[in-house]
Structure formats: structure tokens, C-alpha cells
Symmetry: D5
Subunit: 150 residues, 10 copies
């Protein structure tokens, strides 16, 4: 339990402090298929899945593994998927001041498969789009196309 | 038979009563791949498949498993797929007053595979789009792209 | 041979007579992956594959298996794939007077795999788009996205 | 070697002479996944893959296997993939005078996998779009969506 | 180590000198799934994946394997994925003066899977779009659709 | 309902009468992936799946589609999967007097997915092995290996 | 929590009472891919996966969904996967007195993916073989081959 | 039709004359996934699929494409799948005098999918095993394992 | 580097101390698809892949995640794949005194893909079989069959 | 051409000289999916595919990439697939004096897909088994099972 909620003890600042670089790059950067494990705050039952993160750098570029660390900080808490999605997006937005941030989470909730409804194959997708991802449908579309490529 | 039609005894209100939360979230929430089993009212033969549901919250967020419960209420009846799709969409629309609701059902009808025509691989897709999903093609497009990602 | 050309003896009216229902539904209905077997009128060699049909109901809804029956009527004849696609679309259009009809056929022609050219993996796609599917690219796009989802 | 370059001895006219029919059809016809084998004129090393062809008939419809024959004529020569793509498109354009022609070739070049660079999984895609496929992005988009469906 | 950083000793000019041809071709050419191996300059740990390159020729066409060679030159160095993407795009742009260049890299970083975060399934996508790929969303969209086809 | 139970009106003799040929062949013949639809006699709920049939001819060979017809006769009745498997095997054994018969059925029972237990992904496999398939494990093993090849 | 441990309140006898039939069948019956959800008794963290059950009937045949019910009774408790496997096998063995029982469970343990080790893709397979499945390797081999077929 | 039955005009001798080499090789050689197209002699309807051929050379080795040619000679006739399998095996056995020959054919018969039974997914597997493939189950097993590898 | 070699500081005893339970279980337990990352001691270049572990308990059962911990201890060192396989097997053998232990590792070596040979798709499989896995081919066969099931 | 036949200039000794280590390991080592490109000596047309190599070390263990180098030496020549298989096996056998060597090659021959027969999907499998792989069917079986695992 301590392990599962250790996210409360860390802050984004601790993590990002020395991992933001000046790089002359302004095009979309995506880190996709980041494994996610969290605990639903209503039933204390796990939910887990994948996070896809994109941002449009505004001169400042972040070390890639730091994006995964931010996911850890907010998922190692009692959570609601909608809020978790927003917290990850906000943290990146504040730290990097990018031209845009997009976060998509797809997760399976054990409360849907283990309890009454027993919808064993259902999963939940939440999104938060900030800056240019919010304002420009074409940017959003490209993010989804690039994330779906294999 | 009683089990298969038990949906007549439940109402959406019973289910949603205490599962609607105020959460400051306005972006698309999708619950996809919800297993569906129902009975065709013409031939009393089963049809089954998947439901994908999306809504754009208007402050009010619903517990995810409740969306699956709504599917249960309306599918555990004698049904026509077109009507079932609409009933699920309407129930969510009334309960959450969201900025938009989208429901897609893809199902195999045993009447098409077991009886005369014997089209064993055919399936039927029905959709209902309300609010912003109806008015804005880009929102619809994003819903389909997010639901198709794996 | 009689079996393969028995389509000549049936008419769409016979089939649809008592299978059109008034249902207050105006959104896209798709029946996809309908198996198709026909005979090419040039070489009397089979071609076979899948038909995908969509229509936008204009109050009138048809029993789903009837769409498969219409495919049977026109494919159990000596055919050309382009004409077959058009005949299916026209028959649905006349019977249901919908806001739009879309028919896509993807088929393998034995004449291409068994005879001289021997292109064993080639297949042919033909489409007919009527009404709103013809006039509105967004409607067409949605039909293709929904049919490609799995 | 004679077999691999026999394309020089045939002309499109020979092939299409008696295979163009008047059919009242104006919607997109696609023949996809036509196997292709050719010889790169720089290294005399094979390249091979798939050709996808689409055209928008202008009253005149061609026998489907003839499109595969046209691929044979131009690939059984010493070639460059870019030129081959254009030659196939031009031949169809001249013979059928259609409202548009699209040709996409995806091929693996043995010179990239067997020689120095050894990029064993790389493949090359070339396209030629004529008429409405060139002028109208929506038509191009539909062609790609239909060709990607399975 | 020498092998892994041998890219410092080569220049794009050496490679492209005699491999640029005049070919009357102006449509999109894509070389996709080029295997990539490089070393992250922060942790000296490998990252590897695929590069997809597209360009719109402006009369000048390059031998296909040369695009793979350019990938080699810039990846056999200590790198950051964002910079590597830009260097490949710039090199092609300067050498061919095309109407547009697009480079997409998808890579797995060993630093994300072997060290602390242990996100074993995560991968990173970076893009650089120049010329018409930058200015015209439709061109970008087509590039992504063609690269995703299989 | 009449359609679903029409199997009661047919006998194996009617079907096989003129479809047994003398062919000098004694090695294993398998017809696999025969679609099956039947009704469970306990709950009147459908079960459906695939039948794989093998026999070792003893001079007498049967028209391949007749094996599928035998499946029809016994599945278009109220059934239990175990009994259905045995009836198909016995019918073939009596008609052809082969050196051995093997029947494997894999089916999904709607009673397991639609009613209380809701095990949506479960399926049931039953087998009957007669003659050499029963006596010789190697023959059985080969039948399974050949049926699993794709 | 009550839901997750409700297995303590049920007994195999309650369930099987009226679902054992006399059927003259002695060959292997397999119910495979039964979804399983349970709670690890060491960490109170879920584990979940699939159960495959086979038995060799000794005149007595059980209703197929009852095998799934037995899985429910023993998995809705605090468990260890090894013990759960054995309990399911013993319950079937006692109730049906068959010539043999085989149970295979493949499950993912959240304690392995959410806690320290973070082996996100690991799963655990346990087996119990009784009677002829224990004594005869050929019977075991056939069970595994039949369960692996798709 | 002439094309489809041109097999009558060719003999195995014509083909193999100058393609048998002395090579000191005695281990299993397999040519698998040879495309097959033939005509069923009962209904004049096509059947098509794959042939897998193995032989154990007895000093004499045959040019690989010749095995495919032998398939052509016997399939371009009116056939029964069982007989076709035997003819291919015998032809190889006579020409090469090997220590063993194995032929497996898996084919879809249009008569099963286009006519009455409409079993659209069924396919038929026939085998002929000569020499060591017939006498030694281990050799047969290895042939099947090697052919199933991908 | 410290992270990658931290395995030197841990011992199997530390880990297993309190995680060995008395459970009356003697049948095969498999933990499969354990992700592995290690460093090749010859080139200091990473190799990574999957470990599959099986043991036959002799009364003593180990907590499942401990098997993964043992993999960590020995892989976080400079290694050779053959030796790593043996060390994991020996550690389990000593700690649990089981009736048998099997370890299979399949890994990709960056030295084979990044350096001279550039065999990008090659992987290496090593095995160690102790006790009954070594002595009894049937036990080995079952382990492989169970590990290959999905 | 020089590149494609450069294998003539290298010897196995050059390569293996300093890459054979004494390691106390006697269990099967497999390097699988080694890409292979060679030239058929009859038609000077390429054939390419995969090599799988296994050996049973007799104290002496070889650096893994050296097995790939041996493949290079013998494939960069004018070859026949049967002979190539044997040469690779012999070279390993002589250099390592192991208890057994197994080599399996699966390759596509351009002469079968580009020339007359046009069997586009056919591939050829050859094997050489030495020492214990030759004498003990169980060892062979295990090699095939391990190589087929994914």
C-alpha cells in the first residue's frame, strides 16, 4: 500500500530540475505506451493501462524518461482517471511552457471486471488537450495518427 | 428467459443516483468494448457484440461502471439494435446533461447466421450522436480515432 | 449452375414486402462483412468476397437480414462487379427511400488468380455512394472509419 | 533474364484492345495488392512488392485483369520505382480517359537489404495521382482509406 | 564503440555525390521502416527503432539506399532523438532542394527500460516537417496514411 | 424455430446415397472449420462454433460437402455438445466403414455468456475418436497437428 | 470486498446438485478460457487470467456452466494460485468421479506488476493433473494440443 | 477453360529432364505454401489452396521450382483432391527415388461455399506419405513441425 | 552503470528468506515472460528479452515475485547469456530443493544488431534443465507446451 | 556483385579464432531468425530468408555473433540451399566439436516467384542435423519447439 501511494511524497519539480534542456526544436514529441498502474479512489481497486503524452516544445525539451516519472508521481496515489489525465497534462504544461500538451490514457478498471457488472473486456479512454492541441483539430489528428502507427 | 429480460425491472435513476460526481473535467471520456447480449424482438434470437460510449462532461462525471449498467438495463429486453442504441444515448444524455453523447454498437445477429441467409461473418453497426458529437464532424472523427487505437 | 444463377428468379419486392418497419431512427446503419459469391459474366469463373452496406434511414428501417438477401438476389447471376455494386445500391435506395446509401464490395476474381496473369493476392474494390453519402465527404469518411473498426 | 525483361516486347494497346467496355459506372474502382517484381536499372538487383491502382471511370470500364497486365508490361523491364509508377498511371490514363487515376507502389529493394546498408526491413512507397485524384484531397483520402480496409 | 560512433567520419556529400538523378517526378517518395540504432548522449545507453522518410522531388531524385545511408551517418553518433530527426531532414533538404521533407522516428530508449522508471513498453516518436509537409496539413496526412498502410 | 430444428426431418442415408465413391485412397482426409449452429436442449439457447472431421478411408471416399451436410442434420436439433459429437462420428463410421473417424467440436455456449456466470470468453471442446484414431495416439497427434496448421 | 470474497458462502454441492446427467460419453470434455479473478492472500492484491478445465467422463456428464461456477466459488476467496488450481480439480473429481481431471490456470499477479519488481509482462501457469491425466502423458499431451487449437 | 486444363498436355518427364542434380544431401527438403488452383471433377467448380511437399533425397536433388511445376501439371486438370495429392506424391517418388515423400494439400472447395451447404470457412486437408514418411511417425512429426514454423 | 550492475550487491538468501511457504503442491509451476535486461561482458553492450522459469515443488513453494527478483540479481551484472541461465537455475535449485527446475532465456543481443554483422532480427535461446526436467523428456515437452500456450 | 560474393574471401577460422570460450555449459544454445541473403547458382537470382542454428556445447562456447558471421561467409557465394545448410553445420561442427549441431534454413527463391511458375508465396525449408540432433528425435523435437516459441 505504501508502494502504491508513494506518489504523494514526490513533486514534479524534484524530478524535472536538471532534466530540461535548451534544444532548438519546435515539432511534436510523443512518448507513447507508458505503462500505468493506479488505485481507484472509490473502490480502492486497481486500474491500469497505457499513457500517451505529446508536447510541442517551445525551445525547452525534457529528458524523455522524466515524462514517465511524472506519470509515476500522479498514478501512485488514490485517483480518478479523469483527474489523473488532467494532472499529468498540467504538470508538463507548467514545467515546459510548451505550445501544447496532449495526454491520452486508456485503462482497464478492475472494478468493472471483478465486481457486479463483469464487463471483462471494457476499457476507458480519457484525454486532455491543452494549447495548440486544444485549438487546432489538425494537430490533434496528427497526434492520434502518429500514436496509432506501428 | 427471466434473466434475459430482467432489464424491464430496472431504471437508469436507480443506478445513477449516487454515482454522479462534480469533477472539473470537460474533455471526452470513452468507455469502449463493453460486451453486449440482447434478444431480437422479431425472432427471439440473440444478438451480441460490443458497445462504445463517449460523452463530453459538463461538470458532472459518472462512475465508469454505471455506463456499463445502463447498457445492461436496455439490452436485457426484447430489442431492435437501432432502438437500443438510441435508448442508451438518451439515458446518458438525460442523466448527465453533457455537451454531447456518442454511442456505437457493433453486433452479430444470430438470425443472420443461423437462419436462411447464413451470412456467418456479417455484423451490424449502429450509431447515435447527440449534442456536439452530432454538430461537429471533428469531434466525431476524434471519437472514432480514439476508439480504434490499440 | 442453377444454384449459382437462381438470383434471376427473385425480386427485391418479394423479399422486402413485410420487413420494412417504421422506427424513429435517422442515423447511419451499417451491415458489414456480408459474404459474397458470384460468377463473372466474361469468363464464367467465380469471384467472391465481402459486401459492406450503409444507409441513412428516413423513418423506414429494414430487417437486417433483408440487406443480405438483396446481396443474394443480385450476386446469384452472371455479373460484373461494378454493375453488381450499383444494383444493390439502387435496390435499397428504391425500397427504403433513405437519405443515403453506400455499398462497398471487395472481391477476389478467380480469373485473375487462375488464368494467365496469376496475381494471386490481388483483390478489387468497387463503391457506389448515393444521396448524402455522395454529397457529403464527411458522411463517407465516417462510414469508412466505422466499417474499419474492429 | 529474358523472362525478367520480356515487358519490352508488349504494348498496352495489344492488351487492352478488346477489354474496354461501356458500362454506366462513374465511381471509384480499385485493384489492390497486385504482386510486382522488377529489376532496378542501377544495380540489376530485383525489387518487389505490391501495386494498388484506382481509377474513376468515365463511361469506359476495363477488364480487371488487364490492369494487372499493364503492371506486367512495365515491371518486366529495367526500372526505377518512381518511373514505373508514372508509366502505369499514364498507360491507364491514355487508354481509358478516366476522370482520375491513382497508382501506389510499395516495394522492397534487394539493393537495400543485400548490399552495404543492410536495412533489411525498409520498403519504398511511391505514388502518382492524376486528374481528380490529384486535384481533390478528399478523393485521395478515400482511395487510401478503401485500400487500407481489410 | 568505434563502430557505434563512426558516423562522425562521414559526410552527406560523400554519399550523395553520384546518386542524384534527374527524373521527371514530382510526387511523394517514402522510404519507411529503416532500422535505426543510436547512442543517447546523456546516458551512453542505446536507443533504436525505425525511421520513416518522405520527400517531394523537385526534378532531382536520390538513389533510395542513400536515404538509409544518411540515417547511418547521423545515428552513429552520440545523439538526442529530437536533434537526430532534424539533422536527417536538413541533410535531405540541402542535398535535394525538394518541395518538402518529412522525417518520423519511433524509438525505444534503453534508458527508459533498463534504469529506474522501467517503462518497458514505452517508445518515443519525433517528427520534423519541412516545406510543403510543414505548410499543408493534407500532405502531412497523406504521408501518415501511406506510411501506415500494410 | 422450424429452421433451427429441421435436422429431425433428414437422414444421413438420404444425403450420402450417391456421394460415396470408390477411390484407391487410404490416407487421412480432414474437413476442418465447418461452421456449426445448434440449440442447447437444457436452456433452448444457441451454441455455435467449428467442427473438425477426419477419417481414414477404407477404399470408400465421400463427397466433401456431404460431411458438412451430416453436421447440419445433427446440429439442427435440440442438442448436447457431447452427444452431437458422437452422433456425427457414428454416422460417418456407419456410412463409410473407414479405418477410423475423429470429430472435434469447439463451441461457445450462449448459456455461459448470457446468463448468470457470464464467462464471455469461455468455449467448450469435445472429441470422439473411433477406430485407429482411438487406438493409435500417433494418428490422433497427426490429426491435431494437421488441423492446427495454417 | 464482500463481492470479491463471496466464494466462502457457496459450496460445490449447492451448484452441482441437479446438473449432473447420465450421458453415454467417455471422451475428453474441455472448457477453456474461463475468465478468472481472485485476490492473493499475501498482499490482498488481485490476480486474474484464464482457467482451462478438462475431464474424462465416467458415464456422468456435468452442465458446462457448472464448471465455470466451481471456478467462481474458489476464486472469490483469498487465494494462492497453486492452491486454487488444486481445489478446482478436487471439487470436480469428487463430484463427477471421472477417469481424470486436468486444470491449468494462467494468471497475471498485480503484485508482480504494481510493486517493486515491476515485471509487467510476466504471468504464472499452474497445473493439477488427476487420474488418467496424471498417469498417461499422451492424454496430457492431447489436452494441451486441443486447448491450444484456435 | 483451356488454360485451366492445360495440365493434360504436359508430363513430369518433360519438366524434370534436366533439373535433377547429384548433391550429397540426405536430409529433409520441404517446399511449402505452393499456391494451388484446380477444378473439381464433380461440379466443375474451382478448389484452391496450398500444397506442402517434402522429400528425403537419396543422392538426387531436384531444382526447387520443378516441384511447383509438378503441382501445376496435375492441378490443371479435372480433379479430386485425394487423387491429386497421390499423383503429386507418386510423380516425385518415381522421378527422384527418394527415401520418402510427403504431400499435404489444404484447399477450399467452392462447391462447399457457393452451393447449398454454404460452409464458408471450411477447408479440406489431404495427405499422402510414402517411404520413410509412411513408416516412421517421428519423420512425419518433424515434417509437420517444420512446415508449421513461421 | 551503477543501476545496471547493482545485482552484485544482493544475494538470493536476502530475497527468499521469508518467502518460502509449505504448501502441499507437487505439480509444475511456471512463471513466464519475465522481462530481462543485462549487459554482455564482452562488449558492454546490452542484451534483453524474456525469461521463462518452471519448477516442480517438493512441498516448498516460493512467492512468485521472488522468482523475478532472482532474475534481477543475476541479470544486473556483466554477463554471458549461457552463464546467466545456469545461475538462475542453480539459485532456485538450492533454495527450494525442488524435484526439478527449468530455465529458458530468449534474448536479443545489441552486439548482433548494432555492430558489424547487423543481423537485426536474430535472437538467442538458452536453456538449463535440472532434476526431472533433465531426466524426463515428457516433463520438458509439457513445460514447453504450457509456456507456448496463449 | 562483388559484395554479393565476398564470402569467397573469408574463412571460418579467421572469424572464430579468438571467439571460442571455455564455459561450463552443456545445454542447447539456439541463435534463431538470422537474416540470410544468397544467390542461387543456377539462375543467379537471389534467395533470402532465415537461418536457425542450434548446438550442444562440449565445454567450448562461441561468441553469438560469430554464428551469424559463419552464415555470412557461406551465403555470400553462389549457392544451392541444400549445400549452404550443410556447409554452415559442418563449419560449426569442426570449430566447436560440440555434441550436436542443427541448422534449419527457410528461404524464398526469387526464381520461383519471378519466373515462369510464379508461386509467389512458396518457401523452401532445408535441415541438417549432426551428432545428438541426428541420433535423438527428442533433442530435435525440443529444438523445433524452442525455435517456434514467441
Amino acid at each position: 500500500m505504501q508502494f502504491l501511494t508513494k506518489g504523494y511524497k514526490e513533486t514534479t519539480q524534484d524530478i524535472l530540475n536538471d532534466a530540461i534542456f535548451d534544444e532548438n526544436h519546435e515539432e511534436m514529441v510523443i512518448v507513447k505506451d507508458i505503462d500505468l498502474f493506479s488505485l481507484c479512489e472509490h473502490h480502492l481497486v486497481p486500474f491500469f493501462g497505457k499513457v500517451h503524452i505529446a508536447y510541442l516544445p517551445n525551445k525547452k525539451v525534457v529528458g524523455l524518461s522524466k515524462l514517465a516519472r511524472i506519470v509515476e508521481i500522479y498514478s501512485r496515489r488514490l485517483q480518478v482517471q479523469e483527474r489523473l489525465t488532467k494532472q499529468i497534462a498540467s504538470a508538463i504544461s507548467e514545467a515546459l511552457e510548451p505550445a501544447g500538451v496532449a495526454v491520452v490514457i486508456e485503462a482497464v478498471h478492475m472494478c468493472m471486471v471483478m465486481r457486479g457488472v463483469q464487463k471483462m473486456n471494457a476499457s476507458t479512454v480519457t484525454t486532455v488537450m491543452l494549447g495548440r492541441f486544444h485549438d487546432d483539430p489538425k494537430t490533434r489528428e496528427e497526434f492520434l495518427a502518429l500514436t496509432s502507427m506501428k
